[in-house]
Symmetry: C2
Subunit: 87 residues, 2 copies
């Protein structure tokens, strides 16, 4: 039987890697028109709750992958603030 931490690390690595192309695209193209600020804030709050959950349950794969996801989405938030159209 596969070790449960290994399982968590594989899961976290795959879902983390899958976030990178969108981040790279936004950073490169400086185009944030498909990003919803409200949804970004809802997502970051949700990820913060997952980190909290990971600490309560003492599960490192959950903490690490959600901290990584928060970082990615903080960068997207930064891009949103920098590049949004001023109308």
């Amino acid at each position: 039987m596969i070790n449960e931490s290994v399982l968590g690390i594989i899961a976290g690595a795959l879902t983390s890697v899958s976030m990178l192309p969108q981040l790279i695209k936004v950073v490169k193209e400086k185009n944030v028109e498909d990003i919803s600020l409200l949804m970004l804030l809802v997502l970051i709050s949700g990820l913060a709750f997952w980190v909290w959950y990971g600490f309560v349950k003492d599960e490192l794969p959950i903490i690490l992958s959600n901290v990584f996801a928060i970082l990615v989405n903080m960068i997207l938030l930064g891009c949103y603030i920098l590049y949004r159209k001023k109308s």
Copy 2:
């Protein structure tokens, strides 16, 4: 102290809700040009590992939110197959 299942349910609800606007946008606009097939497959595999992890750890919030995410991304995959440009 807050109950850990409640924490997981809040976390899962927030991250699940945050996925819906993109899904609605793709379904409505029938526009999948921003979707990467490879990344969708990597993401769905990662989510499947999270579900497996949730079963091994016997944690319902992890199982439920990742099953929901798989559903959302399966619909995106379906849209991708239906609406991608044939070139």
